[in-house]
Symmetry: C4
Subunit: 208 residues, 4 copies
Amino acid sequence: MAAKPVDFTAAAGAIVAAGRKLGALGLTPATSSNFSMRLDNGNLAVTVSGRDKGALTPHDVMVVDMQGEPIGTSAKPSAETLLHTQIYTRFPEANAVLHTHSRAQTVASRLYARAGVIRFEGWYTTHESQLDLPVFANTQQMPELVAKVGAWIDSGKPLYGYLIDGHGIYTWGRDMAETERHVEAFEFLINCELDLRRLKFSTLEAPL
Amino acid sequence: MAAKPVDFTAAAGAIVAAGRKLGALGLTPATSSNFSMRLDNGNLAVTVSGRDKGALTPHDVMVVDMQGEPIGTSAKPSAETLLHTQIYTRFPEANAVLHTHSRAQTVASRLYARAGVIRFEGWYTTHESQLDLPVFANTQQMPELVAKVGAWIDSGKPLYGYLIDGHGIYTWGRDMAETERHVEAFEFLINCELDLRRLKFSTLEAPL
Amino acid sequence: MAAKPVDFTAAAGAIVAAGRKLGALGLTPATSSNFSMRLDNGNLAVTVSGRDKGALTPHDVMVVDMQGEPIGTSAKPSAETLLHTQIYTRFPEANAVLHTHSRAQTVASRLYARAGVIRFEGWYTTHESQLDLPVFANTQQMPELVAKVGAWIDSGKPLYGYLIDGHGIYTWGRDMAETERHVEAFEFLINCELDLRRLKFSTLEAPL
Amino acid sequence: MAAKPVDFTAAAGAIVAAGRKLGALGLTPATSSNFSMRLDNGNLAVTVSGRDKGALTPHDVMVVDMQGEPIGTSAKPSAETLLHTQIYTRFPEANAVLHTHSRAQTVASRLYARAGVIRFEGWYTTHESQLDLPVFANTQQMPELVAKVGAWIDSGKPLYGYLIDGHGIYTWGRDMAETERHVEAFEFLINCELDLRRLKFSTLEAPL
């Protein structure tokens, strides 16, 4: 898939395929998660609220404009659509957004909520020698969440994704394939970090 | 599947399909677990005792009445059929019941048996900000177990499912699809809670 | 499959199928594990030494007699064939034996080697309210191992399977299906026991 | 596959197949990992840099000479090609090399980096009663890494594979099938060792 906006048919197809893949990996339990792609007409294709993301059809994907308003449908978009539109507005190179809710993402968001960030250091999975993944408090008020994310971007600190406390990850990329790789890389790093935390403890206290 | 009672053929088909799905996820080890659906004639379709739930055929599903007595068959229903009939009697909107026996469900039931409940708080997987999952002692005497569950319902506290100590979960829904989502959501939440317990400990004792 | 000895073609087929299933579950890493069935002529079908048990063909199954001597072949049977013949000799109702080498089985064998037994109690996966799984030291000398197993049987204590330190489990049944269920049930119980051990610790030290 | 160098078509086919298998097992997250085979003309077939190793095609495999220089292509080989050529140069019997980056490999490399080695002892998965897997610091400078590996080989200590801190494992074999078994055996042993470490701690501090 080219790193530019696509038409609705292509976007819906890519979203359905991503959902099947991520669902099979256990990253989208129950009706959690939401996905979107930037369309070539400036609008957004986004998943309809409340569907099983591992078993989507193109009918579970709808169009909203960059203000999050439904276009040509009475369906209800994901409650978190404004987090998607913010990403497309602030990152012009982003053409796909994935929000997943895996066990590791959800547990890590709880553990690092107070610190407000997970700092990945010493892993050579990505090209970054140090990578910060912020964890935002879950106010369940979209405008507040949007403001928190916006403040991080305004600060000039790099941002490749973020966690919401108790709720999972948001990440994005130039196309769906790159975005899926970002989900995969973050899922891997978070799991490694949690493992190290569990195991370092025994190192400190009871060296074998 | 509509959120109303179905005929035996539809019920047996849904039970076989649910078993294949849940078995593949490792939620029904050996011959554990039992499943049922409410029938449109007021009876119940329930799995025959002792079968491998991941490889059911319609012949492994039988009919019992609301007192748990076999109808038109000499097969032996699950030993826990009275827990199923209780759910259908007390929750008129319930049309499907799933009892599974996953590793996380079974281990959590042991750990929280003394407390008598797992309180889920701070997870945004479901719409509930706080969710109590009771854990009932395993007397292996059905009438005692039925009385314990009944007392909880009589108390007016919400009930979406329950654990039996050393034995796994019971949950229900308006149709099989919703019930499968409830199993999936509880399985996810229990795993998250156990992970947090393992990891919070290291936080408290050895902050990294 | 009937609960009685079968011919070589049926035995080889059941062994190949069991290997594919257990291999896919990760219970037979590298060239570990060995499987056998009792034949209707009083001999034994057993896996040839050193093969990948997840990708067996009937050519990887050979015949030995009840003394473990190859019949009609120059192939080398599993080094542990005498543990198989012992089981068939001491348990006349046993018609299939599976030895697997899963991570949980192997780790648990190390942890409980000194105690010499894992006692399962409070789990309602099997019909037994209490189940002892002995762990025998790994002398790598077959006659010594055979003597240890024999001494346990002679003591009159029930025996449904055993672990060898650092090496995995042996279990058996009346046919291959029952034996696969025994592997599955032990694998489940061992995993539950290890989870409880990890989690009980945090309970004792840092109740949440 | 015979234990001798093969032609490019056979090598590319074996590399693509190994990638699909290892990717499905979660050993090659994102674009990590790299694979190679010795060719019958004295050169090397190696994966092109940056590709998803779980979804390779023969076009993602290129030829380099034993100095790591591309032959007949403008593609860029894996940044770590010199670690591959070193293995083929120092171990004449090696015809395939796999570098993977699993969660267990990566986490273990962090935990044992200071010790510089993981000593496997008491496991009967392999034929070795004791097995040392060195962990080399990740300088990200290939010549330094090559020198470290070379010094270990020069010391005369046996070497069947090695970890690079934060980065995963390198292992090799006489053909691709044997090399895949080595990856599988190391992955298994590393997971067992980490489990034991987690569980031994609770044994020492809180015997149950």
